[in-house]
């Protein structure tokens, strides 16, 4: 087994610390706890955790600000805990470099699943940039720009292929509408989500076995899209 992953839990609520830390330890992670944003930043710099679980409501600084600061120094995956119920905070955190989010109140499996995905992506990162990507019956060949489902080749327009490879390269994590628009259409298009809706609908028609109940290309309501591999 690989060395135990180290997770930094940033939350000022003692109750959350007391519940989440045993949960993570029992699943084989090493857990460190920070109660403030400043403590979190010190810990990220000094102890280089493998993953950060960050609550957005911190006593000293805005959680989104902490997120930005972490991202400025390190590529460590960040999973945001948001209790605010407002989509804007989540989207903001994701745009500022967070990898994923869990909304309070959440269950243990939800958090563990997000952590597993984020850590796994970290391990296989290098192998994904080129070559072939497989998810279920779907195969994406980045070099030849070919997509095959089962035995049939799927013909995609250049934009569709661009969108699909973007989501596949970030599989299992949320990409905000804004991030996708920026990557596929450029910075000027971020306020025009209609482009994205149309393109996603086209892409689903081509790659999904049942476009009405997508299996790969899932919507995260009001936040963005997630390409799911499991």
């Amino acid at each position: 087994m690989a060395p135990r992953s180290r997770i930094l839990l940033v939350d000022d609520e003692v109750a959350i610390q007391r519940a989440v830390a045993p949960l993570l330890r029992s699943r084989g992670y090493d857990v460190e706890i920070a109660g403030t944003g400043a403590e979190a930043l010190r810990s990220v710099a000094a102890r280089t955790p493998d993953l950060v679980v960050l609550d957005l409501g911190l006593p000293d600084v805005e959680g989104t600000h902490v997120c930005q600061q972490i991202r400025a120094k390190s590529a460590v995956p960040v999973i945001v805990l948001s209790a605010r119920g407002s989509e804007a905070d989540k989207v903001n955190a994701l745009d500022l470099g967070a990898d994923d989010y869990v909304t309070k109140p959440f269950g243990p499996e939800e958090l563990l699943a997000r952590i597993r995905v984020a850590l796994r992506r970290l391990e296989s990162k290098d192998s994904e940039d080129t070559g072939v990507f497989r998810a279920g019956a779907l195969t994406i060949d980045y070099d030849r720009r070919r997509v095959v489902r089962g035995d049939t080749e799927i013909r995609l327009t250049p934009k569709e292929f661009e969108l699909l490879s973007l989501l596949a390269k970030n599989h299992d994590r949320v990409l905000t509408h804004r991030a996708v628009l920026k990557a596929v259409w450029g910075a000027n298009a971020v306020e025009q989500p209609e482009h994205l809706w149309t393109l996603v609908a086209q892409l689903r028609k081509k790659i999904e076995p049942d476009p009405a109940n997508p299996k790969y290309l899932l919507s995260e309501p009001w936040v963005g899209y997630r390409f799911v591999t499991e």
Binding site: E13, A15, P22, K104
Partner: protein, 510 residues
Amino acid sequence: MTVMASRGAADRWHVAAAGVALAVVTLTLGLWLRVSNAAIVSSSFLLVVLVVAATSRLWVAVATSVAAMLCLNFFFLPPVGTFSIAEVQNWVVLFVFLAVSLVASNLSAVARARTHEAVGRRDELARLFDLSRDVLQMTDSREALSVLARSVARRFDLEYVAVALPRAGEWDIFEAGARTIALDRRELTKAFASAQTSLEFDAYARTYAGHRTMTVDEQVVRLVPLRVGTKPIGILAAAGREVEAGTLDTLAGVVAIAIERAQFLEERKAGELTRQSEQLKTALLASIGHDLRTPLTAIRIAASNIQAPEIAPDERFGQADLILSEVERLSRLFQNVLEMARIDAGAIATEARWTHPSEIVAAARDQVEQTLREHKVEVRIDPDEPVRLDPRLTASALAHLLENAAQYSPSGSTIGIFSRVTDEGLTIEVRDQGPGIAPADLPRLFDRFYRGAASRTRASGTGMGLWIVRGLLAVEHGRVWVENGTDGGAQFTIVVPVGVREAEPAGSPL
């Protein structure tokens, strides 16, 4: 009535004076000076007529003219001592005299009427001005229309004034004045209907048509439509002093504007209230939503930790403990919301009874035992003699202060509870060793959902506690205030009057 009486008396006096003047002239010229020249006599009489016309009413002047003519004929024109006239030229003298005196009387009367009207108009303008000022100063919209009716009655010396506004087929009537008159609602409806269907300007009376009169108990009541622009919005009823029709119209215009203004004020107030309650709801939802999620998450995870085979057995106890304390936190939150609703609804009754201050402190500590676990508590009660007050409300208020102190001071620090009895009542101080209260937060600290600038980003705390303290103490006629202690921490003080309700029957059950 008194005006009419004094007028009649003045007329009688004028008639008598005119008779005396005529007699004096007749005696002086006829018996003493023995003047017989018709021109001299007639001009002397004319002088009397002019003086009378200038000072008296038209009919007195006319009567004087006729009497003077008869005197001239009887005493001076030959044949003297009879009403017959011998010479034709004397006929001419007689009729010229009569014509001149009548014309002079009439001219004088017209001039006097004009003056009178001008004075009256100036008087009514002044009244209208005063009324407008009253209207502009009207601020409270609840009583506005009654105040308005009173102002009209006072400024125009009317015995009865009513502002009648139609509402859903009924009439809202605001009355003022010394008399009470039962207005006939059907008459109002008729007047209002005619005002709605016709609008016509009467140039002669300088008024819009639509004025009606009705007679109630022999009192003439005038009904004037209240119009904003041309649209009628109600009826003004007035009785008592005669007010000119044009003035009534103007008066009705001012009243209509005042009503519009009052309604506007009321709408604005209602709008303001709605907005405030919307804000309150939003704040409540945000606050509760925030404080529900954390304990729910902790409970959910801790419960599944207990079930999970991966968890070490010695961890399970800690997880169960966590669940218990989070459940207590939820139930505190729930109690706060309930308490807040009861304060809002005015549903908190007090029940005074004899109790020891130490019991109150113990009860309060009991309520927030879990929260105080990380703090040392120092209690000083002097004297611990029974006081009469509502122990539950007082303990509940104290518990909120203790919870507040525990939340905003470092764990391990000391919270002091000091109780004493003063002239004002039972005084309890709660001192903590936290950062104290920022001066900017002091004025709003007891506002609902207000959270200090420094604590706003903290996850716990809803901004309900201190507001509840204030609400509970208000029910007990007590008070609460906060200051920063000399050693830096915050010091909250509550004072509850004791024994004041002894005279009342034992409190109502809750």
